[in-house]
């Protein structure tokens, strides 16, 4: 009975909706890690591009311009990170922490300054600026929308949601079917070997971090222009960090990362559903974060077991060939 109440087609629709921004950031983490760049600034990048995306959407009156600007800001911030991390040799983790500082406090500073100078009053958010017409539009898939349950779940999502899932495939193609992807992977696995065959390690790392910036910029746009109507303080709420966990849990592969992002989306959707039944929302809000830790543990255990099994089968073969 309770299960029937929770697992409605509405519920699965919201799983996909909640997963989309996490998925975008997760793909950013996947590409970064493949190039050996652990970008923990995804959270901050999402905050910054969410802010500028919603502001430019308001100024230009067009959601498309807003998304584009969010994407550009993602790239800009990530290139700045690259400059500090690769050229000035700041530890990449510390660079990420600095970006997150700007993302949490600095954005509030900027939103106060910017809205003050344009609106004549101090707003601490841009929630009143994004109206229904500036929201990223949804799309009803022809044919599929008419199928009873499946249509309710799959059709009618925001365009960016479809793009996010499409990007899983594109990321795979990029990493495994293009020369650039080969370079990214080789730089991540062995930078010296890559450099010795003439690959510019610096350039590849810049490209990887910039692609990650673009992806998390899209995630930021999704947050402020679809998920919530406008930017507000700390609205990303750790999704950039969850993405790092999803990357690790998905073994750094696009498909695995998508599955683990879906797990988090599921956990969060479940939390929202449960709190709607009257349970204190503060009690269910930590569930996605706990699931993240649990997921990392399970993943580590599985990997360890697999390695052990490989070792033991190798040893068995050795003894067999000795005889």
């Amino acid at each position: 009975m309770l299960l029937k109440m929770i697992f409605t087609s509405d519920f699965f629709f919201s799983v996909l909706r909640i997963t989309a921004p996490i998925l975008l950031a997760t793909l950013a983490a996947v590409i970064g890690e493949k190039a050996g760049v652990s970008n923990i600034g995804l959270e901050g990048i999402m905050m910054i591009s969410a802010l500028f995306g919603s502001l430019t959407a308001y100024w230009s009156g067009s959601w498309a311009v807003g998304v584009l600007v969010a994407l550009l800001f993602g790239i800009l911030v990530s290139l700045m990170m690259g400059f500090f991390a690769f050229n000035l040799k700041t530890d990449i983790i510390l660079t990420g922490i600095a970006v997150n500082m700007i993302g949490s406090g600095g954005t509030l500073f900027l939103v106060k300054v910017i809205t003050n100078s344009t609106e004549g009053k101090a707003l601490a958010s841009t929630t009143s600026l994004i109206t229904k017409s500036l929201q990223i539009p949804s799309w009803n898939i022809p044919l599929i929308k008419n199928i009873p349950v499946v249509g309710d779940i799959l059709s009618g999502h925001c365009i960016l949601t479809y793009i996010a899932f499409l990007l899983v495939f594109l990321t795979w193609v990029l990493l495994y079917r293009t020369p650039l992807g080969l370079n990214i992977r080789s730089v991540g696995e062995n930078p010296n070997a890559a450099a010795s065959v003439g690959v510019s390690v610096l350039k590849i790392k810049y490209i990887a971090i910039a692609i990650g910036g673009a992806l998390s910029g899209l995630g930021g746009a999704f947050m402020s222009m679809y998920y919530a109507m406008g930017w507000s303080q700390d609205m990303v709420a750790g999704r950039g960090f969850i993405a790092l966990a999803a990357q690790a849990m998905g073994a750094g592969e696009p498909l695995g990362a998508m599955l683990s992002a879906l797990v988090f989306g599921f956990a969060q959707a479940l939390g929202i559903k449960v709190s709607a039944t009257g349970v204190d929302s503060n009690l269910v809000s930590p569930i996605p974060y706990l699931v993240t830790i649990l997921g990392l543990v399970v993943f580590a255990l599985v990997v360890r077991r697999r390695i052990r099994r490989q070792h033991s089968s190798a040893a068995l073969q050795e003894t067999a060939s000795d005889k």
Binding site: L88, G106, F109, A245, Y289, L296
Partner: protein, 382 residues
Amino acid sequence: MNKRRSLIFSIVRGLAAILIALAVATLLIYICAEGDTAADKGAQTLSALHQLLVGPAFRSNGALSTKNLCDILAAMIPITFTGLATCVMFSANQFNLGAEGGIMLGAFTSALCAIYLPLPGGILPLVSVLAGAAIVAAMMLIPAVLKTRLGVSEMVCSLMLNYVVMYIIKYLLNSHLADKSKGQIQTYEFQSQSLIPQMVNNGSKLSWGFAIALAFVVLTALFMYRTRWGYAIRMIGINKDFAMYSGIKVGGVIVLSQVLGGMLAGMGGGLEMLGRYNTYSWSALPGYGWTGITVAILAGNNPIFVPLAAFFMAYLDKGCSLMSTYSNVPSQLIDIIQAVIFLFFAAEQFLSHYRQKLVVKSTQEEMKLKEAAASAAEGSAK
């Protein structure tokens, strides 16, 4: 490069980082300033900068402002502790970012003890603060043990724990512990004997927690530089494989560094709570953990320099809040200044050309000395 030169280099480098940050701040303040002409805006920028840099120390008539200075010293208490915690954990190359949740959990635990434990004065604050420290130390076991046993990233794990801690505290506060007779969400008041006494009575909330913080700076420094364990922690940070081959139990020491870090963060939370407030009402992460990371970076992970870095950050913070009250520059400017200082301070290659010059100069001098000594020896041989 001799010791004096490398000291000069670090000072020049630090000052350059701070100057760049202030230049960025000036630019942002100028953009904020209202005014029609450039001169108008310039004047406003100058007065805002004056508030930011001089305001915390001096009153407008030029006299030293003891109240503001006490405020700054009081604000140093939590960030000194999170700074120390970060120093210990980062020294072992453990990027545990849980000091943020740790200080909140420590403050909450101490607050509960201060409300509900029936103990006499003197013992109650001690027990409360120690309970906070113990709980956070236990919390840090989670990322530490998962790291050493399973290789789970301590960074991601501690970040997630921060959120878990925050929501659970919010839940407990809202549902079970709130004093329903009050307008805002807060606990019942602490028992009066649990409060940590104030050092000066001018409303600045400078409690004896400050003295305890300084004592822990010395203790942590002694631990890190004068004990076997501290040496092991630093050695693992410098070269983990070397530490392992020289017989250091790497796993145990990694756990130790994070548990100690948690203990320090929790203690800071307890002292801050009982020294400043008389009821618990934090419903969001306080941000001291992140400032603590900046403090540790500024101090170069050396506990002795933590108070200096903490003073600097507290001074800037006070300056920013003064500035926001007297001009229309939002106080969150501090986050941008902090991030910029942070980035340049941690940048290894920042001013590397200047460093190179100093190295060359030192070597040339050394070679000259040697040549002179050699020719003198030749001369005496003849």
